[in-house]
Amino acid sequence: MNSGLSKLIRKTEKPYIGLHGKIRQTKGDRLKTGGIERLTKYVSGSIIIMNFCLLGEDGMKKNSLKAWLYLLPAILFLGVFLVYPLIDVVVYSFEQGYNSASQSYFGTGIYNFSFVLHDSYFLQAVKNTFIMVIITVPVSTGLALLISLGLSSIKKLKELYQTIFFLPYVTNTLAVGLVFMILFRKTEYSEGLVNLLLNSFGMTSVDFIDGPYWAKMMVLCIYTVWIVLPFKILILTSALASVNKDYYSVAKLDGTSPSRTFFRITLPMISPMIFYLVITGFIGAFKSYSDAVAIFGTQLNEAGMNTMVGYVYDMLYGKSGGYPSYASAAALILFSIVLTITCINLLVSRKTQSKQES
């Protein structure tokens, strides 16, 4: 079929483009355009003409209908599972005392928001999330930058390292989290591997899973960094590879010091990608949930390690669930925070970039 098609193209290319050009020229005149189109189709077969008779004069109409048919599944799915829920979540958040069983509520107002904002579990979740964001985003971005710089300066074994570094991306967060839990925890039978390592450096062992708050937070941050690094390394490595090599040659000729080359050439060239990673990193870290579940189990409130997204889900389902209104209010609060921080990020990145250009 392909060869037949290409033959046809060769045959019909010239006159067709000619017609196409004419269509373009008379774009404003719809009557004429329709005429030319009709002419083309007239040549191509009588069946299509029959269709024309059935569907009326305007060729667009038939195409329109078909296009909408093609779009229908997507529009249907997006409408039901994306647009409607978005409106609905706002409605939910203002309905007081919504009952999922009877689907009734007894008033509207901002009570849900005030309940959530005064809930100690929510405040704990907000605190945890903010600490996590503040630690993991800079650490992971910085570490990814160092690793990518290292990767781009070697030739041997580069592919092997890249492959290894990417592995965490394709693993199941829950499954590998279990391994981290085993490595960090301390039981009556065993101190755990990480604690033994600490002991060998002369530090006392800590229970990282059920122990003090900062220890738990540390494990969570370490695991999160471990999980998010592959993506960042990948992006930064390709950003570094796309920097024009001529800049470096010139810098070398000039005898520019490596640190100056880095700060004056490399960093400005890849800064859009760094900003991209910081922004997506912020968003991702604010929405983190399954890494916490992977390490501390599903009862995150009891462990004091819940995240904001975790709070939303707990309000919806599970032991403490059944409150979609509170969940909606919490979700909206979360996203107003994310939106604000993303906007600030965008403003900062725009300002920095325009400064570089001037």
């Binding site: 667009m60 647009v83 978005l86 070697i154 394709v170 199941n172 065993s190």
Partner: protein, 287 residues
């Protein structure tokens, strides 16, 4: 720092610098690989000997497959596995059909309001999943689709980003092909699946792989929508195993389950390494 000093220092430490870079990279590689090593090692350790080790050993002289046997018999790991497979395949196939059709409409068909609709689609990309999941949970519950594959699959089949990605790719295919096919009397649908999709296979495969990774690792939605362990996916299965798995806490058997769950994606990754990495750098979001 002056230039001359820089030059004097440069030649000798070049090797040292290289060595440092390799050391640093190897260190991180070890950090990445160690959890994998540890889970494989533990999964081969005997239950009794694992618990007897106060200081864990870094190797085992008596590897046993007992844990793998236990993982498949004591807990329904095979069932979880099968469920995930069905879920992944179902979601990917339906997603691909919906996405390809929509992308084709945007790329090739002319209709009134096309730009407006496309802009609306693009703006939908900004809606975070966590916000809509609350209502979706209610919708699926009201439709009594809890603990069914339909309920699991339906909300995650439409992806604006993939539609966008495919549309861009479809548009790169010369328009003449489409016109020739039209003159030939080829139907749009036939043209789409016989010409356009094969030409754009790399992007289609990228989209598929990204979706498969996402499906295999999905945890939140399945957790909300299933409480019958006959419908658990691997992520929920592993959580179930962890919380009330083997009757007693059996770490080696747990690790065996973890290995079984992790292997498929790692194998796929090692086979399609280049495709996956280029695909993720184009459209990955985890992180």
């Amino acid at each position: 720092m002056t230039k001359s000093k820089e030059k004097r220092n440069n030649p000798a430490p070049a090797i040292v610098k290289k060595a440092l870079i390799y050391f640093f990279l190897t260190l991180w590689a070890a950090c990445v690989l160690f959890p994998f090593y540890w889970m494989i090692l533990s999964s081969f350790k005997d239950y009794a000997s694992y618990n007897a080790e106060f200081i864990p050993k870094f190797f085992t002289l008596t590897p046993t497959l007992e844990n793998y046997k236990l993982a498949f018999t004591a807990v329904p790991l095979a069932k979880y596995f099968l469920n995930s497979l069905i879920f992944t395949l179902g979601t990917s196939v339906i997603m691909l059909a919906v996405t390809v059709l929509a992308a084709f409409a945007f790329a090739r068909l002319e209709f009134r309001g096309k730009n407006l609709v496309f802009t609306i689609f693009l703006s939908l990309m900004m809606i975070p999943n966590e916000l809509v999941i609350i209502t979706n949970y209610q919708t699926i519950t009201n439709l009594e689709l809890r603990n069914t594959f339909t309920g699991l699959i339906l909300p995650s089949v439409a992806s604006v980003f993939f539609i966008y990605l495919l549309k861009e790719n479809f548009e790169q295919v010369p328009d003449e092909l489409y016109k020739a096919a039209k003159i030939d009397g080829t139907s749009d649908l036939k043209y789409l699946f016989k010409v356009l999709v094969p030409i754009c296979r790399p992007t289609v495969i990228t989209v598929l792989i990204l979706k498969v990774i996402e499906c295999w690792n999905s945890y939140v939605w399945p957790r909300l929508i299933t409480d019958d362990s006959a419908y658990f996916l691997v992520s929920n299965g592993i959580q179930e195993i962890r919380e009330n798995g083997f009757g007693r806490e059996n770490v080696p058997a747990m690790m065996a389950a973890v290995v079984v769950i992790s292997v498929p994606l790692i194998v796929i990754f090692l086979i399609f390494r280049k495709k996956i990495m280029s695909g993720v750098s184009r459209g990955g979001t985890k992180g």
